[in-house]
């Protein structure tokens, strides 16, 4: 990805997060005291639109956070090879995080 495109995706995912994070925090933690029991959470996540939004939230926050960490690590004057390793490592980490999150949905 060109640096310009990377920045655009970072800003776009950040914008998405404004809404998704607000929604996630409100429903999970604030509205009506938050989801406090296992049963509450399972019932909440059983709704199809919630699954769509929470999946989008998982993908967006993972991408945004790891791409942000990459942007910071690249400030450390890495060699091209080290920068490539950072990108690869963070990509693998991101895929693992998303896969784990999506797998958790299937266990409910």
């Amino acid at each position: 990805m060109r640096p310009k495109t990377q920045w655009l995706w970072q800003a776009f995912s950040g914008l998405l997060l404004v809404f998704l994070l607000a929604l996630h925090l409100t429903v999970n933690h604030f509205a009506a005291g938050g989801l406090l029991t296992y049963e509450d959470i399972v019932a909440y996540l059983a709704q199809p639109w919630v699954r769509v939004l929470e999946t989008l939230f998982l993908l967006t926050v993972t991408y945004h956070a790891l791409a942000g960490v990459r942007g910071i690590l690249l400030d450390l004057n890495l060699t091209t090879a080290a920068a490539r390793r950072v990108t690869l490592g963070l990509t693998v980490l991101g895929v693992l995080i998303c896969a784990y999150g999506l797998w958790l949905f299937t266990t409910l």
């Binding site: 640096p3 655009l8 400030d75």
Partner: protein, 237 residues
Amino acid sequence: MAEVTFKIYRYKPGAIDPPRYDTYRVSIEPHTTVLDVLEHLRLDDPTLTYRHSCHHGSCGTCGMLVNGKEVLACVTRVADLKTDTVVIEPLRHQPLISDLVVDMTPFFEKYEPVGMPYIRESEYLPHSQPPEEVGAYTRFENCLECGLCLSACPVVGSDPDYLGPAALAAAARVVQEPRGQDVPTVLAMVDTEEGCWRCHAAMECSEVCPNDVDPGGLIMFLRRELLTGTSRSGGKR
């Protein structure tokens, strides 16, 4: 007259090595500047080195850290600092030569290839009609090439390959007012990982810039320009 303690960073390769701080007590008047103090001390110790020329904030050579902040020594009054102890150190992120003198070569290696013209259209006389032989009123560009912004920028500190605020600001000025420079070439120079996309918008550069260049704002201008190609008309000044 008030007495103020000055702690001055001293370093000379092979002579004052490792570096140390020398302490002096100096009486100051309300208008005494940091540069005045250094010149006074130098009468007793000719080995104390610092850079200066104009004494009025226009040559950009007297940049240093005063109480940890990047300033031009010649326009920084000691009384305004409001501290009993004033710590004077060389600028950060640039190779140190001696005492308060840093090597500006890396600065100019990044700044000069941009090729910013030194003059710009004057915004101060919008209503006056210039004489025919003049054509349009011009004035000097704002950037003093002092390097304060490079010292303040955290990214310059961690990544020596980063183009840095001064060169990026100069590039933005070329885009805003090319005066014969080739805009696509300059845009290509800054549209890189080590160009305007490396900045984290900490805006420390704009905070310390002594002449309102606003490098941080100009970096954001470059990004808008690269993303939309339409902000040219929105260019300030």
